[in-house]
Amino acid sequence: MAKKRHVIIGNGAAGISAAEALRAEDPQASITVVSDEPHAAYSKVLLHYYIDSQIPEKGLFIRSDQFYRELRIETVLGAKVEAIRPDEQRISLDDGTQIAFDTLLIATGSLPHVPPVDGLESAGVSTMWTLADARGIRRVLKNSRAGIVIGGSFVGMQALDTLARRGVRVSVVDVAERIMPNILDRQGSEVLRSFLADRGVAFFLGVQSDRIRVSDGRKKKLALTDGREISADICILAAGARPNIGFAANTPLRINRGVVVDEYLQSNYPNIFAAGDVAEVFDRLSGERRVFGLWSTAVAQGAIAGMNMAGKKVAYPGGIDINTTAVLGLPVMTIGRTNADESAENITVKIFQDPGKRIYRKFILKDEKMVGAILMGHVDDGGLIGSLIRSEAACDPLQSRYSMGSFRHRLNYVIR
């Protein structure tokens, strides 16, 4: 049998995880990784630790050149994929190169959403998405005293954290009325907002950014639609992300928000798979299709896609939304469905709060089974709560041990 040619577009969490699984399953096959970024694989989720110098730049890189050699993975770096031609089983790169494949994995990740604000091209205004962005932000930060973060969601919080750690006075602007609205409930958003406000962060919520003007070289003024103005030296755009489907024009691949795949992470072409931030998969809890923009789901999906590319038949059980971050030292973790309709009859909610200790913990149960949790301040049992959600074990939310104590108890009971 001829050697199989596996091609992976993307050198991130999903792409690398798939390449490793592929090599483990198929020692003979040829594996090619194509990426539009010129470096070896690095962790986008660690960029903010690099920006405020908690880690050196080399700490971002998760695989060395040696890794690619040892696993005999051919790399085509710094090349953008222009078209995927499923019927001809090849991809075309922007430099004209054609690469033929037997199986293809689309693991192109996501791109930051850029909000419609005038003046974003000014120097000192940047997304916080790539290594190049992070290097640029570090340069501007050297002479920055005030910063603006446009977007109060996950990446916005990380941007806020890294700016504040560098001694920058931060203002956060978002059209939404509250911060992290997708994963926190109203009360949780307020706990986090007041914690940050107490530490000097200014919030401009429920208002749109209109335009950025630059005065005397680098001072920027961001005008809001309600007439207010914020001055800053640096502005970070953190307005969410969308699947990177730039290659999608004129393709017969089925694409909705992301590349639509089935439970085997297979697209409408049986030899073309998708994994990570670009894949539209099933949400395990709602059963609906969605795109997960998460490192951990990308790793899991990549591994499964890799095995399936090698000819196995492994099903992805569906993703669960899990998030972890820490903002100015306050750990925040969310697991599962955190914004369920609490008026529904079969939904029970239990909140444990200790404002003095900056602890806010909320558990959401549906038909007496855990479906989601918001953990702030005390998050050590997040993994166990994930297990409780996945195993669909019945829980009693009224037990006191669910408060500050740990789910370890319940889970070990299950183990025994």
Binding site: L46, G383, V414, I415
Partner: protein, 163 residues
């Protein structure tokens, strides 16, 4: 064959000496919050048991770590956290189905059982013999498998192969 930490819950009296020995050895202070082995208690049933990292073969903490900071020690089989690489992002805490990794308040880095380089101190200090360090026999392996199977149902990857 490598040795494992084997727990015999029947012998545990919840004295939590293991927690103190662990935290003292690892952090220099007797602070159960920093212990990597934790005793859980079911008071109503008078059932107590230490819990500690299983040093998984397919370790989701290691696979998920965005800093590639968790690796398997080929000599002891322990999953070790490289403190220079770890950023304390808690992705391992979030993904471990057994809840056995946490971020130390002292160091801000991930903390988990490292088998004390092959000579675990909790075992030495356990006054009742509830914690042993030995080559696991078939019975113990069977129990472990059952535990894992129970939880594999809830693992992040949850591989289902079609027969």
């Amino acid at each position: 064959m490598k040795k494992d930490i084997i727990i015999n819950p029947e012998k545990c009296v919840a004295c939590r000496t293991c927690e103190l020995a662990c935290s003292l050895a690892k952090t220099g202070e007797c602070n159960p919050a920093e212990a990597r082995i934790k005793v859980v208690m079911f008071d109503e049933e008078a059932f107590y048991t230490p819990t500690v990292c299983f040093q998984c073969q397919e370790a989701w903490c290691a696979q998920t770590c965005p800093a590639s900071a968790i690796t398997k020690d080929s000599r002891t089989g322990a999953l070790l956290v490289d403190r220079d690489k770890c950023v304390g992002c808690r992705m391992c805490t979030m993904i471990c189905p057994f809840g056995q990794v946490f971020v130390s308040r002292q160091t801000g880095k991930s903390s988990k059982c490292d088998l004390c380089s092959g000579d675990p101190i909790c075992v030495k200090f356990c006054p009742t013999g509830a914690i042993a360090f030995e080559k696991s026999d078939a019975l113990q392996q069977g129990r472990r498998k059952r535990v894992a199977k129970n939880l594999m149902r809830s693992s992040p990857l949850e591989i289902k192969e079609n027969s």
